[in-house]
């Protein structure tokens, strides 16, 4: 019953090109980095929710554990849904939910925390998720602003040679504006 999928990328990483083998078996879901043999494993009993969505590198299998931990496996072809959905149903009795991503191009929405992920949702669809494990620092530079800084390949020690050109453009900081109640009144008051 177990199935293996090659050339699967571990999602939710900055500048990570490591491909590996994804194995979906009765004991659980496992991914093995082809380069260094590192393993990411989700035991069958811990699987809470499985979703299927578009990502930059084709499609993504997102696995949420009962404790909130989220693992993402990217680079799956669209048609793989037809193989994975019945497989996940048979093995773990889970329905592979299709989730749409926001491609509206808006910079306003809402923040939602889900386990180890922080999602930015636009009109009820997730535009992107930030893995909290990648957050290096946060700041509140002004009353309605929050900045989040990320671990970059050098600081997290995941890059190879420093002189080599980075293969991907890495996000280093995001600044949110959170209006909150009372802003309007405060501004008016200040102008008087």
């Amino acid at each position: 019953m177990a199935r293996e999928f090659d050339n699967v990328l571990l999602g939710g990483k900055n500048n990570s090109k490591a491909t590996g083998k994804l194995k979906v078996a009765d004991v659980g879901i496992g991914w093995r980095n082809s380069l260094n043999g590192k393993i990411v494993a989700v035991p069958a009993g811990d699987i809470h929710k499985v979703t299927w969505q578009r990502c930059a590198r084709d499609y993504q299998l997102r696995v949420q554990q009962k404790d909130g931990t989220v693992s993402k496996f990217d680079g799956l072809p669209k048609e793989m849904y037809d193989t994975l959905a019945p497989l996940l149903k048979n093995l773990y009795h889970k329905t592979l939910e299709r989730k749409e991503s926001s491609v509206k191009g808006w910079n306003w929405g809402s923040i939602e925390f889900q386990g180890n992920q922080m999602a930015f949702n636009v009109a009820n669809h997730t535009a992107f998720e930030i893995p909290l494990s990648e957050v290096a620092n946060t700041n509140v530079p002004s009353k309605h602003e929050v900045t989040v800084e990320f671990a970059t390949p050098e600081t997290s020690g995941e890059s190879g040679s420093k002189r080599k050109a980075f293969s991907e453009d890495a996000l280093v900081e995001v600044r949110f504006f959170v209006p909150g109640v009372g802003t309007q009144n405060q501004v008016t008051a200040n102008e008087e």
Binding site: R54, R57, G109, F120, L171
Partner: protein, 135 residues
């Protein structure tokens, strides 16, 4: 004053209707300028995230040692009078005010900087012309 006092209304816009419309090369996880759809696409932790040029206030670049940074500043409700007069669909939402990206590919980032500024200028010009015609 009397002239130009008409309340500006928020104009709806969208980069793409569906995920299928994203350019194929988003898989490279690099910043993309999509002139046809008046959008930039930014790679954020495995997701290709479009931003319509209307949301972009400006882009700035800086260099530090061998690194080059592009900072995208977005339009948000603010505290200045000018910012307050800007119409928003949902002023109480959480806004992304800025995103900063880094690369050591200085040449490509310089090129992106120019492309994005050109796109911004072109759309502003077109919008101004459209407005003039409508008046």
């Amino acid at each position: 004053g009397a002239a130009g006092e008409t309340q500006e209304v928020f104009k709806k816009f969208a980069s793409y209707k569906s995920e299928a419309q994203l350019p194929k090369h988003v898989q490279d996880m690099k910043i993309i300028v999509d002139n046809r759809n008046e959008s930039i696409i930014l790679p954020v932790y495995g997701q290709a995230v479009p931003f319509h040029v209307s949301t972009l206030k400006n882009v700035s670049k800086s260099e530090e040692q061998d690194m080059v940074y592009l900072r995208f500043n977005f339009v948000t409700p603010g505290v200045t009078k000018k910012e307050m007069s800007q119409p928003f669909e949902d002023p109480s939402a959480t806004f992304i005010r800025a995103l900063t990206f880094r690369s050591n590919d200085v040449g490509r980032f310089m090129d992106l900087f120019k492309q994005i500024n050109d796109l911004k200028k072109d759309t502003q010009k077109r919008d101004a012309e459209r407005k003039e015609k409508a008046d």
